[in-house]
Subunit: 265 residues, 2 copies
């Protein structure tokens, strides 16, 4: 199942620097899954309005096939306050038997790429863009599935450690959206700076300008207990998560420097 890809279309095709485009589910989904925040754009009521993009928390999963991994077809679950703007628009669309369309983007910056000329400067990065239609989650079982998915997506194993299931007020104040992914793609830039031959021939330039990559990655610091915390030691599932996630981020940013431009090791 590891070769499943989103077919290229007018909607998802990476036009500029196409060699950086990736369409396999695994690459596209991994970027979304490892991003703490997604940027969600949705069509507003009137095309005369400004477009909108908002940060939201969302996680990939499959209620029908909960053991599916990131290389398989998945839905994207977004959650939010029941009367927020996107939720109101999603409900109106549903009432009118139309589906709200969304575009969701996740971007990870892995390094600053410093070259000889301003225009050849770049960043090492991974971004995913997903296009889909929104369905309101109304079934209790699926809603609970999504709430666990989202909580565990923020910190693996957290859901079961807390006071669950959510009570009536919590259930009714939270709206879950299931985004059926219609198409998607990723774009990845890795490796060293890439300068043009004409600049690489200028001895004076090469002697003067430092070129290279400054790796960038998210660090998870020491967990800080709340003023009402009574659990003396930080539990292992938290300290392991902090260590593992931080290690993964740092190792990728460093490994990316020796990859080729399209992110192949």
């Amino acid at each position: 199942m590891s070769d499943l890809s989103y077919p290229k279309s007018k909607t998802n095709k990476v036009n500029r620097l196409g060699e950086r485009g990736k369409y396999d589910c695994k690459t596209v989904h991994e970027i979304i899954a490892s991003s703490p925040v997604l940027h969600v754009s949705f069509n507003t009521a009137s095309p005369e309005d400004f477009p909108v993009v908002l940060p939201m928390i969302g996680k990939l999963g499959s209620f029908e096939n909960p053991s599916a991994d990131l290389s398989e077809p998945l839905d994207l679950y977004l959650h939010g306050y029941v009367s927020s703007r996107i939720m109101n628009i999603a409900r109106s669309s549903t009432k009118e038997n139309s589906s709200l369309k969304v575009c969701v983007c996740a971007t990870k910056v892995d390094g600053l790429v410093l070259s000889l000329t301003p225009n050849s400067h770049s960043m090492n990065y991974r971004s995913s863009v997903v296009f889909g239609t929104v369905n309101l989650v109304t079934e209790l079982d699926e809603k609970l599935y999504a709430m666990k998915l989202i909580t565990d997506g923020v910190l693996a194993g957290r859901y079961e450690k807390t006071r669950v299931p959510p009570d009536g007020a919590e259930m009714s104040s939270t709206q879950i959206l299931r985004v059926s992914i219609e198409t998607a793609s990723a774009k990845v830039r890795a490796g060293e700076p890439g300068d043009y031959d004409k600049d690489l021939k200028q001895e004076e330039l090469l002697d003067r300008v430092w070129t290279g990559v400054i790796p960038m990655y998210t660090t998870y610091g020491e967990p800080q207990p709340s003023n009402y915390n009574r659990v003396k030691e930080v539990p292992e599932y938290i300290s392991n998560y902090v260590k593992d996630t931080g290690d993964t981020e740092r190792e990728y940013a460093l490994a990316a420097i020796t990859m080729d431009e399209a992110g192949t090791a």
Copy 2:
């Protein structure tokens, strides 16, 4: 000039958890300025299309008033490849004497906020959303101003250290957009977890669940020279930038934990 704010309107008002909304230029602009990547949404040709959001690099500045600081009115300059989709749409709009509208969002995650129940989990974060109209930058001086602004925005002082000015091919392959900001707002969450009284009264829960904040921040690693770099030592403007920017990020994430929920120290 430090009190300038974007007036609240239907477009920029933070509805949900309004106490987290910020409208002053300084807060809104600082989040944009310190984000390596912005997420840009724009209206496509047909409202039947999917909405679009893409990662782009952009920096705030004022060509008319270049010494303006982040607490003053500023434009947002975005750059991209001349024939990318947003640039094509921006050019068509200009030809038709209409202005492409964009929404630009920057988000920084400062920590995971772990509380007693899944629903009261949160993140410490800072996000800015800017609404504006796009103008193609056609004047040479403004284009060079924007190119320097963007390069120095990625790494302070970098532009003058490289081979400048950009040559003819570089100038013509790059399109700069000036976004005139019509309105904007920020949303900031900081502080400790916030649990409901009903949960804080449950002794069993308090004895069992670790609550607190895991700080998150971007780390800049050791600069790695390219395989054609000849400058033996990492120049001071680079090592200082790496240290200062990393320190600022880490210090904010830690300081945020002791702020109130709306991000006041």
